[in-house]
């Protein structure tokens, strides 16, 4: 623990979940000590190290313990066992406008809020103008906060917190508030923080903001750290857990990809003249494809009779949206006469996609008759993981440089 800015050591947090809260003496007496509650470990032996100047994301689905962990870091919840070591001043943004008093003016609330975050009156005096300016609320600053919209309150809260200038900033999914303009301002401010060498811990389930902001990320599931590493890698693991718990895509992605390697063949529809036996998706990565990497798809078919007018088609979908579709005829490939078992290879020189899971549909169709010999709809998946910081759908290869104009 010598040089870390923030270190969590063997932290566990235990909750008692009461079936119904009994907080009056009468109820306590009636229920006795056996008031019905469930033991619940919100965090179990969590270890996290954050270097000074790092921006770290805590990713996890609802109930994974990520917010509890942040509250323990902030000193709001006491750990059951273990400890948290923090170097320097800490400001926590758990909910914007926490501690605002609705009957007080914005001005009074700035003072109160900043002093809750540990500032002295003199420090607040010197930062007051900056805070007001950042919040863009100068004309309302003497109005009572109860007349503020939630967005305005959030702006004021964020303005106070970032201008407190802490060594460690803890943020809990607050960037979702405010208009786009303000959000950009928040991100700019966070970037400034990063440049100033401050440490930031950022809790979210929005993978995109982790990618944009964080240097590394920890993935929490059921109170445990299940993975940590570069944002892209962490996001991939996070997605797996999300899918595993959502129940819609019950098999974990790793298994999905394995399943693809050995196809059961029963998903193939069509006239039955040709069956698609197996689809194999190959790439450099194990289990996933990195953005921009090549991909090779091998389709094994078996023609039950000689067919001379077949063309192969491949389509890529994200959800129900068609991203790409191509046919062998369109590419001028001479399929010839199919008879018996064979293989067609689709070689994608590059996969220009960002994060996501994409499904593929294959078909074998008669060029003249139009009859569908074989059709395999969205059985095969591949997953793309973006190791970089770009956000969106398409991985445009872009290079940036600054050209200064000589005067």
């Amino acid at each position: 623990m010598t040089s870390y800015s923030l270190e969590v050591v063997d932290l566990s947090k235990h909750f008692k979940l009461y079936k119904e809260k009994h907080t009056s003496i009468k109820e306590k007496l009636i229920r006795g000590m056996r008031s019905s509650y469930e033991e619940f470990w919100a965090l179990r032996d969590v270890n996290i190290q954050v270097e000074p100047g790092e921006t770290v994301g805590l990713l996890g689905h609802n109930g994974s313990g990520k917010s509890t962990l942040l509250k323990c870091m902030a000193g709001i919840l006491q750990p059951t066992t273990g400890k948290v070591c923090l170097r320097g001043s800490v400001a926590a943004l758990l909910e914007l406008g926490a501690g605002f008093h609705p009957d007080l003016s914005g001005r009074d609330n700035i003072y109160l809020n900043a002093s809750l975050l540990g500032l002295s009156k003199r420090q607040i005096d010197s930062k007051f103008e900056e805070i007001v300016e950042f919040s863009e609320l100068s004309q309302f600053i003497d109005n009572q906060v109860k007349f503020y919209s939630s967005g305005m309150q959030a702006r004021l809260g964020f303005a106070v917190a970032v201008n407190v200038d802490p060594d460690i900033l803890l943020i809990d999914e607050v960037l979702a508030v405010g208009d786009e303009n303000f959000q950009r301002k928040c991100i700019d401010r966070i970037n400034q923080f990063q440049k100033a060498g401050k440490t930031i811990v950022f809790v979210t389930h929005a993978a995109d903001s982790v990618r944009q902001i964080c240097d590394k990320a920890f993935v929490l599931d059921h109170g445990k750290v299940v993975a940590f590493g570069a944002p892209g890698e962490a996001i991939r693991v996070f997605r797996e857990y999300m899918m595993a718990s959502s129940g819609i895509n019950s098999p974990q992605l790793g298994e999905v990809l394995e399943n693809n390697l050995v196809d059961q063949g029963k998903e193939t529809l069509g006239t039955g003249d040709i069956s698609i036996e197996e689809v194999v998706i190959e790439s450099n990565g194990s289990g996933h494809i990195l953005s921009g990497d090549p991909m090779r798809v091998r389709l094994h078919y078996n023609a039950n009779r000689a067919i001379n007018d077949a063309q192969f088609g491949v389509s890529i979908y994200s959800g129900n949206e068609l991203f790409f579709s191509a046919t062998s005829q369109g590419h001028g490939v001479d399929v010839g006469i199919l008879d018996g078992a064979g293989e067609i290879v689709f070689d994608f020189a590059t996969v220009p996609l960002l994060d996501g899971v994409y499904k593929m549909t294959f078909e074998v169709r008669g060029v003249e008759s139009g009859s569908v010999y074989a059709w395999r709809e969205q059985v095969d998946h591949f997953e793309v993981v973006n190791p970089g910081r770009d956000v969106g759908v398409v991985a445009f290869p872009v290079a940036m440089k600054v050209v200064s104009v000589a005067k």
């Binding site: 010598t2 000193g75 800490v90 926590a92 758990l94 926490a98 003072y111 109160l112 009156k121």
Partner: protein, 314 residues
């Protein structure tokens, strides 16, 4: 905050270590470090209290003055209370009682009422308790001003040497009040009935102090039932007795109270008051300070133990 590794210091930033147990010493240190927050919290409570009222802050004078007028009317005029200058007699006890009552009762609810802060911001939770006491202290101050003004109007002077013990009595009052405040505020989070029980308890307690009636009235009955020691074991009662001894019923020598007439100054009304000497007060205060200090540390310990689950219980 037990071990601070040696390797940390060179980087120059203070290191905070959050552990399941926090010692009383470090709790007190943190409270001291956050004293400015206490000032903000008190001023928040004060400005919120009179927000939107036309007279605003004037109420903090008006309220005790009017209360006093009502009591004076009821007891002196309606009930023919024989105690002369009853308003002053009452005021001497009431300033003490009001501070105690307001502190303990608002402190008891303070943690529960500020659940929003507790759940979202990290700070010494004791500050909430102390700010309840701070607000009560501000009102104590206003009432003390009223008392001073009234004393001057009635040409009364403090009685030496008892008046010199008043600062000590206030120290006793603060230690005892903060002990109870901290204790009840923490317990109230877990048993919400505490507040309601306390309300009734304090009302009974009020009538167990010689605020409205005189010691002279109480003592005969108490002696008869051998209850005097219990009555005086209450830390508040001796403080009120001392206040009355120090400020009540000592007219300024040589000043005639009836305008234009040369009359000898009236004799002090001390026969209504308890006749304890200085050493009795000193001994009593000494014991209360000692016992309260021990209880204060214990209640801080309890507060610290319960505090860990505040954010979850609220």
């Amino acid at each position: 905050m037990s071990a601070v590794d040696d390797g940390i210091k060179p980087l120059g930033k203070p290191v905070r270590i959050l552990t399941p147990e926090v010692s009383v010493i470090s709790r007190l240190q943190r409270m001291w470090a956050e004293r400015e927050l206490l000032v903000f919290m008190v001023s928040r409570d004060l400005s919120v209290k009179y927000k939107g009222s036309a007279l605003g802050f004037a109420w903090s004078f008006l309220n005790p003055a009017l209360t006093l007028a009502i009591y004076d009317f009821v007891f002196s005029v309606a009930l023919h209370n024989p105690v002369p200058d009853f308003a002053i007699y009452l005021m001497c006890g009431l300033v003490i009682w009001n501070f105690f009552f307001n502190s303990v009762l608002t402190a008891c609810a303070s943690v529960v009422n500020n659940s929003g802060l507790i759940k979202k911001v990290s700070f010494s939770r004791e500050i909430l308790v102390l700010s309840s006491m701070g607000t009560a202290a501000v009102f104590f101050f206003f009432q003390a001003i009223i008392l001073t003004v009234v004393l001057a109007l009635f040409h009364l002077v403090p009685q030496t040497p008892y008046v010199y013990l008043v600062p000590l009595a206030l120290v006793v009052l603060i230690i005892f009040t903060s002990t109870l405040s901290i204790f009840f505020s923490a317990v109230n989070v877990y048993f919400r009935d505490t507040y309601h029980i306390l309300e009734v308890l304090l009302m009974a307690w009020f009538w167990a102090t010689p605020t409205v009636y005189t010691w002279q009235v109480a003592s005969s009955g108490l002696t008869h039932h051998h209850l005097t020691w219990i009555y005086l074991a209450d830390p508040i009662a001796p403080i009120i007795l001392l206040m009355q001894r120090a400020f009540y019923g000592n007219p300024l020598a040589g000043v005639a109270r009836t305008a234009g007439m040369k009359v000898p100054p009236p004799a002090p009304h001390t026969h209504y008051l308890a006749n304890f000497d200085l050493s009795w007060y000193l001994k009593d205060f000494g014991i209360v300070i000692l016992v309260s200090s021990i209880l204060f540390v214990l209640s801080l310990k309890l507060f610290g133990k319960l505090e860990g689950n505040f954010a979850e219980e609220l």
